[in-house]
Symmetry: C2
Subunit: 352 residues, 2 copies
C-alpha cells in the first residue's frame, strides 16, 4: 500500500502557467494562428505536463498489460482463455497488431504479465512479470480479487513503469490483453458512472446476440453479488475488476507522478482510467485519449472524465493499438512546436 | 488538351474483385475479425486501387501546388499576397508545417509553382515550375483564367506527377499554397454542389466578421459576373478557379490513371477533388480524404462526393499537412495487412 500511497502523493495538479508562452511560440510559426487546430492544443498540453518548452519524444513506450479472468467461464467471450498466454507470446515474438503499429510509430512495447493463468516460461527483455495470481476469480460468484490483490495489481503497474523509467520514457501508451476483459470493464464503467449495464456493454471480440444477453446478465449478477462501493475505487477494482486493469491504473498513476504524458488506448484502458481518476482526479490532465472505440461504453467513460478522443477509427482490438496511433499524432504536434520556422526566421510577412 | 484527354481515358473503374481475398487475409491475422475497423477498410481500398495484395508504401510524396489569385485584391485574405512566394521558399528551405509533418511520416515534398505572381529564382530538386501565368485575374471582374489556361493548369499537375513518377510514387498527397485561395474554392464548391455561398464560405487564414461578409459578397459577385456552367467542370475552373487548384485536379487524375492512391488534404484540395470528380467520377475510389477541415465548405464537398474523412483535427493550414497525417494512418493499415502474424503462424487458437 505504501508504493500506491506515495505515488498518489507525488501527483501534482497541473497549472497552466506555460500555456501563454507556448501559444505565443505557436503563433510565431509560419502558419495562420490556430490553423493546426488540435495539434496546437496537444502541444500546449504536453508542455503543461512535462514543464518542458521543447518536450522530447525520443522514448515512446507502450505497456501491454495481460491478465486472465475467472468470469470467462461464464462464456462472455468469443475466444477461449488459452488465447491470453498465446497472444502474450505473439507480442514477445513481434507478430501482433501492437507490434506492427508500435514499430510504425517508433515505440517500444513492454509486455507485463499481471495475472495470466499460466506461467509463460520465456525470457525476454520485453516481458516483465508482475503476476498477482493465476487469473482473477469468477466475479459472478464473488469478488474477482481481494483488496490486497487489487493494491498489488496497481503497484505492479507502478513498478513496471518505474523499472522501465531508467531506460527513458518521454510518453507512455496503455494497452491490454485478457480474454473476457471487456466484461469487468463494463462492470467498472457501470458502477462508477452509474450508467445502465446495457448502455456500457458491447460485443467485445465479436459475440452473438445470445452471448451479449448472457454477458449483460453476468455483469448485472456480478454487481448484485458483490455490491461494489462506487465511491471506493479500490473496492470496485477488487470486486469487478481485473489484474491487467489494475496494472494500467498503476501505469497511469506512475506516469502522472513523473509528469509523463499518458496516452489512453481503448475501452479496457478507459475503465482503468476511470479508477485512476477516482483515486486522484488530477490525473485527468496527464491523460490524452487516443481514440473512441467501437465498444459503446467507451463514450460513457470519455464523457464522465471529460476526455476528447483524438481518433474515431472503430477500433476494438486493444493491446495499445489505438494508443500507438495516438502517439504518432502527439509526436507530430511536438515536432510542429519545436521544428517549424518562425515568420521572422523565414522572412515571411505576417497577417495584415 | 491531348494530355488531359489521354489521362482521363486511362482511368479505370475500380472493381472490387480483390476485396474478398484481402478480407480473408485480414481475418487470418491474430486479432478478432474486423477489430481494426477503418484500418481494415483502408487496406482493402488500397489493394483495390493498386491491384497489389501486398502494396508498397516506400515512396510517399506530397505535392504542394502554389498559385496566386487576382481576387486577393478584393481584400478576401488576412495575409498579403507576398506571402505566397515567401512560403514557397519556406517549403524549399524545409521550415513550413508541411515539411515538418511530411518529415514525420517519411514523405517527400514536391513544390510546384503553378502560377505564383513572381519568379522564384531558386534551383531546387524539390521545386517544379509549371507556371501557367503570374497569378489568375480577379474573378470578381471576369474569368480567373481562359479555358486554355485551365487545361494547362490541369496538364501541369499531370506533368508534375509524371515527372516524379519515375522516382517512385506509392502514394500521393495533395497540398496547396496560395493567398486568397479559399475564395475560389468556396466559389467552385457553391457552383458544383449548388449549396448557398454562405454555407460554404469560412474564415480561411482567419479574417474578421467584416472581411467574411466582404468575402461572401465577392464570391457571389464572381459567380454572377461569370455565370460558370456547373455541368462543365473546366468552365467552373476557368471562371472561378485557380492555377494550383487546376494543378491538384491534374494530380488526382494522373494518380488515378496510374492506380496510385491519392490522399486529399483540406478544403482547397477538396474543391479540386470536386472538379476531378466531375471530369471523371471513377476517381472517387482512388481518393482517400485525410481530414475534415475547419472550413465549413469541406463537409459539403465530402457529402457531395461521398468521401469519409479519416481525421477531424480542426486543421485549416493546407499545404498538404492533413494529407501527411492521413498518409501515416494509411501506411499503418498496409503494415497491418502485410506484417502481422496469422493465427496459424503464431499458434493462437481461433474463435470458438
Amino acid at each position: 500500500m505504501d508504493l500506491l500511497m506515495n505515488t498518489l502523493k507525488k501527483i501534482e495538479k497541473i497549472d497552466y502557467s506555460l500555456d501563454e508562452s507556448t501559444q505565443k511560440r505557436l503563433d510565431s510559426l509560419t502558419k495562420p494562428q490556430g490553423s493546426l487546430g488540435i495539434l496546437e492544443d496537444i502541444a500546449r498540453q504536453v508542455v503543461d505536463i512535462t514543464k518542458d518548452q521543447y518536450p522530447k519524444m525520443q522514448n515512446k513506450v507502450i505497456f501491454t498489460m495481460a491478465g486472465d479472468h475467472g468470469v470467462a467461464e461464464e462464456g462472455v467471450s468469443a475466444f477461449p482463455k488459452e488465447v491470453t498466454p498465446q497472444m502474450v507470446l505473439n507480442f514477445i515474438n513481434g507478430g501482433a497488431g501492437i507490434n506492427v503499429l508500435a514499430g510504425h510509430v517508433g515505440a517500444r512495447v513492454i509486455v507485463v504479465d499481471m495475472g495470466v493463468a499460466q506461467d509463460l516460461n520465456v525470457n525476454s527483455s520485453s516481458l516483465k512479470v508482475k503476476k498477482v495470481a493465476y487469473g482473477t476469480k469468477n466475479m459472478a460468484k464473488g469478488p474477482a480479487m481481494t483488496k490486497e490483490e487489487a493494491v498489488r495489481s496497481i503497484e505492479g503497474g507502478i513498478e513496471a513503469f518505474e523499472d522501465e523509467f531508467s531506460n527513458g520514457i518521454d510518453i507512455v501508451g496503455t494497452g491490454d490483453m485478457g480474454i473476457g476483459n471487456t466484461t469487468p470493464s463494463s462492470a467498472i464503467t457501470s458502477v462508477i458512472t452509474k450508467e445502465a449495464v446495457e448502455n456500457v456493454t458491447g460485443r467485445g471480440t465479436g459475440i452473438t446476440d445470445n452471448s451479449l444477453a448472457n454477458k449483460i446478465r453476468t455483469i448485472k449478477k456480478s454487481i448484485e453479488v458483490n455490491c461494489p462501493d462506487s465511491k471506493d475505487a479500490l473496492d470496485v477494482l477488487a470486486k469487478v475488476g481485473g489484474f491487467e486493469i489494475g496494472g494500467i491504473v498503476g501505469l497511469i498513476l506512475a506516469a502522472s507522478s513523473r509528469r509523463v504524458p499518458v496516452v489512453i488506448d481503448g475501452f479496457i484502458s478507459g475503465a482503468a482510467a476511470l479508477i485512476a481518476y477516482q483515486l486522484e482526479p488530477s490525473v485527468k490532465d496527464y491523460m490524452i485519449s487516443a481514440h473512441s472505440s467501437a465498444e459503446k461504453g467507451h463514450r460513457v467513460i470519455h464523457d464522465y472524465i471529460g476526455l476528447k478522443p483524438l481518433l474515431e477509427f472503430n477500433l476494438r482490438l486493444g493491446e495499445g493499438t489505438g494508443a500507438a496511433l495516438g502517439i504518432t499524432i502527439i509526436e507530430a504536434s511536438i515536432k510542429i512546436l519545436t521544428e517549424m520556422a518562425t515568420f521572422q526566421s523565414a522572412s515571411v510577412p505576417e497577417k495584415t
